[in-house]
Point group: C2
Chain length 240, copies 2
């Protein structure tokens, strides 16, 4: 175990930088905070561990730091005892169903969507341009370790839809009322579901390229559901 006590140590600066999307993208790395997530991450490519305690040691380079250093690096209100630098997921070719996210902005929503996707057997999440970074610390936390288990891709949604259509995917858009009631649909063989921005829904040009439109039946008293709730209910139904 390597001891670090100075707040201005280069390693400390380096870890802090990983809280910024730009550095995560440059390095292909991100931070995972707190013991239960670090343990989950162990099977998925930990580069190094940082901890204020010294009991636990994992089979990776481990740094023992002061609480002040941990406070500096951590994005949590109360800094954890352990965090890890983790390699971003390896990007694989798409096999199986796809959840496409069109400008999802809220990190808590994205994390929750990732968690539900794994729960309901969705293997691939495609983050369109304008989505929050999936390796943002709040996304990582709210995914409860499910981030490690999903194939995460990103890029232009319209290009992806074109490719998927050539591969006989059914492209499923979502609207608040109009379309097929999700509870009553027949199941599709290969599908890609598109969930849109929290306030504005799926963008019009993306919506225009869909094959079908799904909606969730609800009371007239309520205009719309939270994006993570809508995504989860539809994935739950498509997985039945």
């Amino acid at each position: 175990m390597i001891e670090i006590t100075s707040l201005t140590n280069d390693k400390v600066k380096y870890w802090s930088k990983l809280n910024k999307r730009k550095y995560r993208e440059e390095e292909g790395l991100y931070l995972v905070e707190s013991e239960h997530l670090v343990k989950e991450a162990l099977n998925f490519g930990i580069v190094e561990c940082v901890m204020t305690v010294s009991e636990d040691e994992y089979d990776v380079p481990t740094y023992h730091v002061t609480k002040e250093i941990m406070n500096k690096i951590s994005e949590l209100e109360s800094a954890p005892k352990i965090m890890a630098v983790v390699k971003k997921n390896k990007i694989k070719d798409i096999e199986g169903n796809v959840l496409i996210l069109d400008r999802i902005q809220d990190p808590g929503n994205l994390g929750t969507i990732i968690r539900s996707a794994v729960a309901f057997g969705v293997k691939n999440i495609f983050l369109g341009e304008g989505c929050v970074d999936a390796y943002n610390s709040k996304v990582v936390r709210s995914s409860e370790g499910m981030l490690f288990k999903i194939n995460l891709l990103s890029g232009n949604v319209l290009n992806l839809i074109e490719k998927l259509k050539n591969d006989n995917y059914r492209i499923l858009g979502t609207r608040v009322t109009d379309g097929l009631e999700v509870k009553k649909i027949n199941l599709f063989d290969k599908w890609a579901l598109i969930i849109g921005n929290e306030g504005r829904g799926v963008s019009e040009e993306v919506l225009n390229s869909c094959d079908d439109y799904l909606y969730i039946k609800m009371s007239d008293n309520c205009e719309s559901l939270n994006a993570a709730i809508a995504a989860s209910i539809i994935m739950y139904e498509l997985n039945r």
Copy 2:
């Protein structure tokens, strides 16, 4: 419209205090931030409006304040142009189905649960001891105005369950795997659904007093769903 420019004005201090649960409970009032929510709240008991703009005027006492004052009162990262002091919902006797929350801690989860409850026809939410305050600004925001439309009660969960049982309610607990698969259940005439704490689920003594246990079928890769997601999927199914 009354003009206020001093950060130390008594009204400003009073509004700021409403960000604390204790004062909201003493006053029976809470703050609603941003125009679309203030407009929704108009039908549900606005006491007064506070705004930095002067175009809009509602039919209630209205205060024109500086941006600095708004920043001081607001809990948002970027302060809104309008907020309102709103009367807490009138508490009504329980009629119809009930969602019981056992130590739900995350304000975003609670707001999302309230929004889904209204969407899926649940009329009453009972907040057990140890729940986050429903009039917390983050709850109000994430409920997207649905907070105004639901009967919110609070107190001891075990006492409530006893009363509901005497009134022939079916008490539905939730567990991660064990019990009735929610997709396959027969519908109940009168039910109360219990959703537990984000990390620890429903407490044991509450769980022991349930008539049935529901679970949502999911992949072995995922241990559990987010509490708001689980609550929403079950309410969605019970409302079919």
